[in-house]
Symmetry: C2
Subunit: 593 residues, 2 copies
């Protein structure tokens, strides 16, 4: 049975050595107090919480799942108690604004600390994770009264919160939202409609739940420009505290999902529920999108955390499981067979996992630091540059890392063989839990369109130029074994971008035809660059007396990434280039007969 050990050494390597977050945060007045010791203490403390409290509930939470009962949705045994511990320890406050009672941690610390939650119990963590999006929305657009009444409770963790977007007829296309909001007395509204896929829509962890609901006002225009955002609490606040009666809503079902079964994904009915407008009428979608980048980076953190758990588990098994002899002769003649880690194919699988996980950590932490710079740097020009990085890299981190982590999780099953296909070893659960990361917060296809249509093509390629310049500059100055490949891949990406831009000018559908493969090329360039930087740094440390063995391993992992994983970028570039040509020769009816 798998036991989680937080990968503190690699977390430190990325935060302190690669990113030098302490210096970076010193330039951000709001976060200047987050020195190295504070960061390390925070990450380690939450990792230990995850290890001690959450990990033991992971398999049982999956088995038990959630149920709709008389009084509402019940979560798996132990979840509510773990949540109380979490609140008592003050963890919900971690990355919340200090004026609301938060601890004001920067995103880079939040990402590094919460990685462990997803490694140990992603189903449980969803209750906390979805509240985060609502927190950001309200922080940006809530009225002082809303913030005082509701947001402070979300900050403390006393209440959780949800985002109620999806409806049966609309997921990616929120313009089709039908839920209605009718003005009522005292500036209130009455909300009615059906929402689905609401994470934490109901549960027994907290006494109240704050729903942020997308709905249409009676006179709203059709489409995305007619959607408003409403705050709809499960229980209204009355003179004597919380009302005893539910505010006209109910979780009519808990979805029977492939994974994340400890997380109550609810189908909700609102029937005249009392709500308040958040922000201005018809600006709901725009207001909601303040949280889109951080929630997408959050999917990167999930992918990283679950990938790390899958890798750990596979590595442990590969060291213990005895099966066959090494090709070149027995390594352990004292045992009936060699541990399977001696087989090159098993090492290939483990290194694939290791390289993907370490690349994810570099990308996610870096991107989190750019979120911090965008939010808190005193210089507007620096904020602008950071915002460009966030804009460009967020869809890449969301889609590329969730796809890679899924491969990592599937490799954990493969390393375990038949023992990975049964539930006891916990790795098939990681596959099931991770599968949705390619879907929610915008599918891979949605991310790919965002990357090309909104981030790369419109500004004449300025954001992409910045990426290419950075890669070039480092590669040339390093002039090592990775330089030639990176320079060549930059050229390939540049040509590919021009090719896609031209195709898209002729036929807008070309973006969809090339997007997913294009995104993988960008992902490999970014991760290849990060590994080249990490390897250069590690090489510089090798000359130290008795250097930390982490450095030699980092260089070897970087080499593996370039030799074994990055080559996929070339075939993706080729398929991205083929664009619409094999997708549109026949009509849909003629093709799919």
């Amino acid at each position: 049975m798998f036991r989680y050990e937080p990968p503190l050494r690699d977390i430190h390597f990325v935060i302190h050595e690669l990113l030098d977050a302490e210096s970076a945060l010193r330039d951000l007045p709001e976060y200047a107090a987050w020195d190295r010791a504070t960061v390390d203490q925070t990450v380690e403390a939450l990792s230990r919480f995850a290890q001690r409290i959450l990990q033991p509930l992971n398999a049982s939470g999956d088995r038990e799942g959630c149920r709709v009962e008389e009084g509402g949705v019940s979560t798996p045994s132990g979840f509510a108690q773990a949540y109380r511990h979490f609140v008592e320890a003050g963890w919900p406050r971690l990355a919340c604004a200090e004026q609301l009672g938060g601890q004001g941690a920067p995103a880079v610390v939040f990402s590094a600390a919460t990685e462990s939650l997803y490694s140990t119990n992603p189903g449980w963590t969803m209750y906390f994770g979805t509240a985060r999006g609502a927190y950001e929305c309200l922080l940006a657009h809530g009225s002082p009264e809303q913030n005082d009444l509701y947001l402070t409770k979300i900050v403390s963790g006393q209440w959780t919160a949800t985002m109620c977007l999806t409806e049966p007829q609309c997921g990616s296309d929120l313009g089709l939202v039908r839920t209605r909001a009718v003005p009522a007395e005292d500036g209130r509204y009455r909300i009615s409609g059906a929402k689905i896929f609401i994470s934490g829509g109901d549960h027994d962890l907290t006494e109240n739940i704050v729903h942020l609901v997308l709905a249409r006002l009676p006179d709203a225009p059709a489409g995305v420009g007619g959607i408003s955002l409403f705050l709809v609490p499960k229980y209204l606040i009355g003179q004597q505290g919380l009302s005893l009666e539910c505010n006209g809503m109910s979780a009519v079902a808990v979805e029977d999902k492939m994974g994340l079964r400890g997380s109550a994904t609810c189908a909700m009915n609102f029937e005249g529920s009392v709500g308040w407008l958040v922000g201005k009428p018809n600006e709901g979608l725009r207001n909601m999108f303040v949280m889109i980048n951080s929630s997408r980076v959050g999917v990167g953190v999930q992918s990283l955390g679950m990938g790390q758990a899958a890798y750990d588990s596979a590595l442990g098994y590969a060291r213990d499981r005895l099966q066959m002899r090494a090709a070149g002769g027995a390594h352990r003649p004292d045992l009936p067979a060699d541990p399977i880690i001696v087989h090159a194919d098993v090492r290939r699988m483990l290194l694939t996992q290791k390289a993907h996980v370490e690349a994810s950590r570099m990308l996610v932490y870096w991107l989190s630091l750019e979120l911090d710079r965008e939010h808190a740097h005193p210089d507007a020009a620096v904020r602008q540059v950071a915002g460009d990085w966030v804009a460009l890299l967020t869809p890449v981190a969301k889609a590329f890392l969730s796809e890679n982590a899924y491969a990592v999780a599937n490799l954990a099953i493969q390393v375990h063989g038949g023992h990975g296909y049964i539930r006891d070893n916990g790795v098939e659960q990681i596959v099931r839990d991770l599968r949705v990361a390619q879907i929610y917060e915008g599918t891979t296809g949605v991310q790919a369109r965002d990357l090309l249509s909104r981030k790369v093509l419109p500004d004449g390629g300025a954001r992409l130029r910045r990426l290419l310049d950075m890669v070039h500059e480092h590669a040339r100055s390093a002039d090592d074994e990775f330089t030639e490949v990176l320079v060549r891949l930059c050229a390939e990406l540049e040509q590919l971008t021009a090719h896609v831009a031209e195709a898209a000018a002729r036929d807008a559908d070309a973006v969809g035809a090339s997007g997913c493969d294009y995104l993988r090329v960008v992902g490999h360039l970014v991760c290849g660059h990060l590994f080249a930087r990490a390897a250069r740094l590690a090489r510089s440390k090798l000359s130290q007396a008795s250097p930390d063995p982490h450095y030699a391993a980092k260089i070897a992992t970087a080499r593996f990434y370039f030799e074994r994983l990055l080559p996929e970028a070339w075939s993706c570039a080729q398929t991205a280039r083929s664009g619409l040509s094999s997708l549109s020769t026949l009509s849909e009816r003629e093709l799919f007969i």
Copy 2:
């Protein structure tokens, strides 16, 4: 909710047009009666059975699973009744020898007909599928008495059968088998030991189960040369029919698996169970391997069947689901949004599924026909050539097709978005059911080693030469849009093979380092070749008056395969070539710190 429609048109295309199975079977005296009409009736009849009887039990079988109860293992509701229908209709007899009461169908018909069983209910089909392996073992090595008493019952389906190989300490490495067989009275043996992962080890479908068990005789040498094969029935045959008492065995647990949950995968204890030797002592492993090729081709059929179901489901959903407008403007202004099939990225996913499924069908049916030739051609030289094809292509079909089908199933979730992640739409079940296809009957890594170490490298590349010659010859004679790529890929594979052979001569571990990527290169060459042949054939039919629209779609699908899927072969060749270089720079302890 998904309804299965058997893909009869494409089945006919492959069997009759591409392979011309009727002529091929006419040359095999044993199968000469299987003319086109008989083949079509058989395939259609079993497909209808699958559609009517099995498909309705697929989701419920997954939900209910199997349970160990007082009297043995109980299967999901309806499974036993469906099995009775199956036996009454005579289906277990389909591909069994006529002298044993079978219908004597060739493998190509068996594959085409059973594809539908895996499309509709893979969990149920496992009970039938595992009996198949035992049938082949006994047919080859059973004594006349064993065949009379047991094999005829397996042929009729009255009893099922299992293969008891795996033990807790050994899966891929059967040399570690510990189960013991002690000689007893009357040429009997007493079998004692623990077996795991026994598909259909116990169930309530039939009154008896025949186990073929690998075990060691007291004086057996260590390793694979000391393993013998025993026939161990659940109930012994006495004077008054079946004994009332179980033959010293019990299913102590049903594994809680990721998928195939309708299939009872049992942990079995044998405690002095009475058994009989099958074949000679210490030749158990060799004797068992008579079924290895057909059971591996069987995994190809499973992958094909489940892939087809995943594709059908995604296609149906993509036509119905309305979400956003086509990039170039509304296709269905009469509806609130366009069906998602209008989006290029969705068409890309559907075509990826379609191309993989059609490639699988061509490869699996062709390989099945070679199994038939190897088995039944009167000319020994033809049998030899067919045997070479079977040897070379079986590991490719098993590994390449199971990996591709898993991608196809995952794309079905992706096309469904969040609706694919919940159980209602049935596609997440396909992912769970399919995951084990890359593991059982030899993992992908085991197949890759088999391909390189046993099939390609030892005979100086003669078998591979035959493949390259065939591809070359067709490509040159066709001289169409696919020729250049295929010729280039042949050259690449030839060089890669020389490269790997050289590396393996220096370090045997190099086979493991390159094997999985090497196998994918071979898989793409084979499937590319088959698509080129299919497209050439289809082009020749286009000149007919009002040609069947299947032909134009086939050409478009072939083009998609070459433009979008086959390019992966180049990056796989590159990673295969890198071999051990990034896997062995550091020791295991230094690398995985």
